[in-house]
């Protein structure tokens, strides 16, 4: 069984409460169609569980097969450095079929960010080391393609579909209850 080797930390991009019962970590690639497919599913899963669930996104761009994946990840980090990570994240996935340099610039401008600054950040690979670090942490944790999910630190090998994810998270929630009962 593969386990998350890099614990979730404050530097991670996360949605939800730190003390949520379940943390769902996704290693994803902005140009991967399966990640694009999973994006609205993750949102629905988050909505379903509310504050019981925390969601964390980490970069795993497969640059050899996805020419825009790295720039997209860098653009999301660029926006993230200015407090707009999730807006950029959503914008990229929602417009995945037309992912390009132009789209990234458009999205940045839409968030009130400077497209010149974005260009400079992409050309200087300002955020690349963070992305590489996400990637290597993922490799060490047994990420075996995109998207790869970890539920409370354990790799989830099921389908990236709503019902399957909900079921796996429910299992964690009921497991948590049993443990607490034992502790009490």
């Amino acid at each position: 069984m593969a386990n998350l080797k890099v614990p979730v930390a404050p530097a991670d991009h996360s949605l939800g409460e730190e003390d949520a019962q379940v943390t769902l970590v996704e290693y994803g690639d902005y140009e991967c169609p399966h990640c694009g497919h999973a994006h609205p599913i993750v949102n629905a899963v988050r909505k379903h569980f509310g504050n019981q669930l925390r969601f964390v996104f980490r970069n795993f761009p497969l640059t050899e097969i996805h020419p825009h994946a790295e720039a997209a990840a860098e653009a999301a980090e660029f926006a993230g450095a200015q407090g707009h990570f999730w807006e950029m994240h959503d914008g990229i996935f929602e417009n995945q079929p037309r992912l390009s340099g132009r789209l990234l610039a458009e999205l940045a401008v839409g968030l009130g960010l400077s497209s010149d600054d974005l260009t400079a950040a992409l050309e200087g690979h300002e955020y690349l080391s963070r992305i590489k670090s996400d990637f290597l942490g993922g490799v060490r944790s047994g990420v075996n393609g995109t998207p790869t999910f970890f539920i409370n630190g354990v790799r989830y090998d099921g389908a990236a579909e709503f019902e399957e994810l909900v079921e796996a998270i429910d299992e964690q929630l009921s497991g948590g209850k049993i443990k607490r009962r034992r502790a009490g």
């Binding site: 593969a2 497969l62 050899e64 097969i65 075996n144």
Partner: protein, 170 residues
């Protein structure tokens, strides 16, 4: 059912075609760690399949001076098209004729389907299997096990080196 060769076993040598007019022998790679990645077939319909993943991680493998080779029962032309499409930076060997002979020698052939298992071997500098792992056929084994084995192999080499130099010093 055949069993996957265990650590400590000498890795069976083989010579397999790597392109339509070139072949590769395991013994040619002696002196460096070798990662043998058996997989069922080219063209599996997912992003970031096993070979694409190893391709992305290739620079990490190179840090350990490890040579990675993929092996399946697909023929050389199929491998050539697949490697070109996925921009692979490491060789794919064709265990094509006699079909699956190398996979059988390593105990990782699936007779029923006629394909290789998803099986990984890390072979040390002397040609001895240092680590092996067979994954459920539907689960891409990722690269964490390989990297951990390469790290352990490096540590073993370093501690041997220290032993040697302390012997020489005394």
């Amino acid at each position: 059912m055949a069993h996957i060769l265990a650590p400590g076993t000498t890795a069976p040598d083989f010579t397999l075609p790597v392109t339509p007019d070139q072949s590769l022998s395991l013994r040619d790679l002696r002196g460096q760690p070798v990662v043998l990645a058996f997989y069922p077939a080219d063209w599996s319909p997912v992003c970031g399949d096993q070979m694409a993943l190893y391709n992305e991680i290739h620079p990490e493998f190179q840090k350990y001076k490890a040579e990675v080779v993929g092996i399946s029962v697909d023929g050389v032309w199929c491998h050539a098209a697949f490697a070109h499409d996925r921009h692979l930076h490491f060789p794919l060997l064709a265990d094509f004729e006699p079909k699956g002979a190398v996979a059988k020698a390593y105990g990782v052939y699936r007779e029923k389907e006629g394909v290789c298992e998803r099986a990984l071997f890390v072979i040390d500098e002397e040609g001895v299997i240092f680590w092996s792992y067979c994954s459920p056929i539907a689960v891409n084994p990722g690269a964490d096990g390989i990297l951990e084995a390469l790290e352990n192999l490096k540590e073993r080499r370093q501690s041997h080196g220290q032993l040697e130099s302390s012997r020489r010093a005394s």
